[in-house]
């Protein structure tokens, strides 16, 4: 019962965040929303594991948390330099 | 050497807690991966005081407790500002001086600021942190320098006397 309430709250939050991701207006609003969506997914997976009585799902959540972070930073780096390769190192600006 | 040992012990603990399967062959594979990772890190030359901050270990629990309290307080504050009707925010940007002596200390300081809702470190340049706060009160609190003091105490090596310069 309590897991169900928690999971509904997480889904509602995800929907609110998706609205922000669609509205924008700047690209950074969208990245912020998607990053937040990722952490909500981790919570969703964790609570879902408990709801189904299979807490092994947490491993997926753990990996998702790491990939989400790497993904966000990668997108930001791409936004800033327009490149993911070594080109960035030769420019004056520091890394993200 | 002690940093390498610390890295190996830390990685082994992480592996043991995450695995949960304790058969000889799996344990052997785990041990191999831990040692291999330590070897690669050693070869890359990234095993040092900064990447394995053993000297922080003893003081981190107390700091984490204090930071948890701050996070709880500011969560409550920001949540109220979101829910209650009317405009209850007064966004402010301030420049704070990060007095930490190491880059690690400055990073901990900047991340602690960002972690508490209501304040975000926008930039950290040559010891100056540009902080965006959701209200003018939050900004004034940050200018009080309490967090700066505490992070400085956190990074202080053991046995060193407490430095108490006034912070602005």
């Amino acid at each position: 019962m309590m897991f169900l309430v928690a999971i509904i709250a997480v889904v509602v939050t995800m929907l609110l965040i998706l609205v922000r991701a669609l509205l924008g207006p700047t690209v950074y609003d969208r990245i912020l929303a998607i990053n937040l969506f990722g952490t909500k997914t981790v919570l969703f997976v964790a609570v879902l594991g408990f709801l189904n009585g299979r807490p092994e799902f947490l491993d997926l959540g753990l990996i998702y948390a790491l990939i989400n972070f790497i993904g966000t930073v990668t997108v930001l780096k791409f936004m800033q330099y327009g490149d993911l390769g070594w080109e960035a190192a030769s420019k004056e600006k520091p890394d993200v | 050497m002690r940093y390498l040992l610390g890295l190996i012990i830390g990685a082994a603990t992480l592996w043991l807690l995450l695995s949960g399967v304790y058969k000889p062959i799996v344990l052997g594979l785990g041990g191999f991966s831990v040692l291999f990772c330590a070897y690669v890190c050693h070869r890359m030359g990234i095993v040092d005081r900064e990447s394995v901050p053993l000297h922080l270990l003893a003081r981190v629990p107390l700091y984490a407790l204090w930071l948890g309290g701050e996070i709880a307080k500011s969560n409550w504050d920001v949540a109220k500002r979101i829910v209650l009707p009317g405009r209850r925010i007064s966004p402010t940007i301030v420049r704070l001086r990060a007095h930490q002596s190491s880059e690690l200390g400055q990073a901990v300081f900047a991340n602690s600021i960002t972690l508490t809702p209501g304040t975000v470190t926008v930039a950290l340049r040559s010891g100056d942190a540009i902080v965006h706060a959701i209200t003018a009160d939050n900004a004034t609190d940050m200018e009080g320098g309490d967090m700066d003091q505490r992070v400085r105490r956190l990074e202080r090596p053991f046995g060193a006397p407490a430095r108490r310069e006034a912070s602005q």
Partner: protein, 104 residues
Amino acid sequence: MNALIDTASWILLAGGALLSVIGGIGMLRMPDFYTRMHAASVTDTGGMILMLAGLMLQAGLTLVTAKLVFVMLFLLITSPTATHALARAALEDGIEPQVDHDKR
């Protein structure tokens, strides 16, 4: 004793759910990008910590709790880093925050 732990975990989960939804509302209500980051911070720290703490009470002293602790630690380290990178990228891109007081 069991009922007590159950109640405590219920309260934590409910609190986490509430903070999470409040942060979502804040994402829609706040006027500009930088203030939205503060709202995001509420779901990212408060909601996440309370919810995972509630789950930890449910799991008891097992490996599951250890994993929950690791999830929490990873999120607590990565989320401010990502937020900071985002804020810096936005500022460098020339998105000026709407502020009442600018004391840079």
